[in-house]
Symmetry: C2
Subunit: 215 residues, 2 copies
DNA sequence: TGATGTGAAGCGGTTCACAGCC
DNA sequence: GGCTGTGAACCGCTTCACATCA
């Protein structure tokens, strides 16, 4: 077992492994080897072993991994046994869509508040989540024990929003605005930039057929 | 100018540079050096120069880059001067939210059709986009000249949908389902996995404060 | 002088290959 | 025999440092 710093790429893959194990578990399997996992889900067996070895010796030589045991181990590593309370900033189309997103509703993340600066939206309810004035973020965040912020505002406002939520003590932020943001030490920022993804597709389609690589 | 294979990381950054240049352009600036670009937008100047050098010599020594000229060059490289027609498979919450997403409506991507297998949804209109039976994908894709597919169905159906759209000749696919998908040669697949992003935040929050790296 | 474009060095992640264990 | 865990090799991306040019 390594004690070095864990790469984010490794933890990202743990998420993937977990979902693969869920599928195998649903099929009633009890054990799986890294090779079987790899061939079935288009992964690399050495990488699976190396990723898991960062956190302990979960496997049994000659056998593989016990699926249920490994699921629990990975869940625990990823902190999926702890609940988080999410505040979404931006009650526009994206923000309201996210507040209903099953990824939030079916996991250990609960959306407990929306925020906006538009007086016309403040006080609205999206599902059973209320829209608050962004000016009251600190107060509401404290009252509702929000520990994760989701930025779903237009790009020009994203940095301001990020600064505001980090000043309120939020340590984990997911950003959907297509803008490069600067975050202070000790805060985790994950950006999902659909613009980049779309333009990447655009670039691919602009290449002469067959001359470009594929994911 | 290199003629080697262009890394996807490079083209992703071109998207970022383009938006940075848009901002500078709006401020009325005419030129910018890689160093100024880097310090202002939290980027690396050497990387900017190297990325751009892959496609030509756009800069002027002693001066920097002409903003308007560079914007046009990058737009052209990314194929943003060509229009694309998007079909979204999955008319659930995510699919319908995406069909209204400004990223689609304000760029060279037009959403022209939605698809679903739920008879209760087929024939509906989301905005002015109709929902078709996924069984008719090939026919509608041809009729409406769809060249980009967006997968917004639950994970267990994602691979089937991907196979169907690639068989219909689609060469560029954006996937929102949290599942590792296998794609045939010559097709570009971009996956946006919110589950991974959320679990990454969960992992970070589960670490003892200060022991974990930050983006 | 000031900035680009680029070979070379550095670094981190992936893959290989095998010792060690069940 | 089969599979894990892991040092070593490999590979690709990033960063440095500087020759080159306006």
């Amino acid at each position: 077992m390594k004690v070095e710093k864990i790469s984010e790429l490794t933890t990202n893959r743990l998420s993937v492994y977990l979902r693969c194990l869920d599928e195998l578990s649903n099929e009633g399997l009890r054990t799986v080897s890294s090779r079987k996992l790899a061939t079935r889900f288009h992964l690399n067996s050495a990488q699976i072993r190396k990723d898991l070895a960062c956190f302990g010796e979960f496997g049994v030589r000659g056998v593989g991994y016990y699926i249920e045991d490994l699921r629990e181990q990975i869940s625990s590593i990823l902190g999926l046994d702890k609940n988080h309370r999410v505040g979404i900033i931006g009650a526009g189309r994206l923000g309201t869509a996210l507040s209903n997103y099953y990824g939030f509703t079916q996991t250990n993340f609960d959306v407990v508040a929306l925020f906006d600066s538009d007086a016309g939206k403040i006080g609205d309810k999206i599902g059973d989540v209320e829209v608050f004035d962004i000016k009251n973020f600190r107060k509401i965040a404290k009252r509702d024990r929000i520990d994760v912020a989701v930025i779903a505002v237009p790009a020009p406002y994203a940095q301001d929003v990020l600064d505001r939520v980090t000043k309120a003590g939020i340590k984990a932020v997911m950003n959907f605005a297509p803008a490069p943001l600067k975050v202070i030490e000790g805060v985790k920022l994950k950006s999902v930039d659909l613009t980049i993804s779309l333009e990447s597709l655009s670039y691919f389609l602009a290449q002469p057929a067959g001359s470009n690589g594929v994911d």
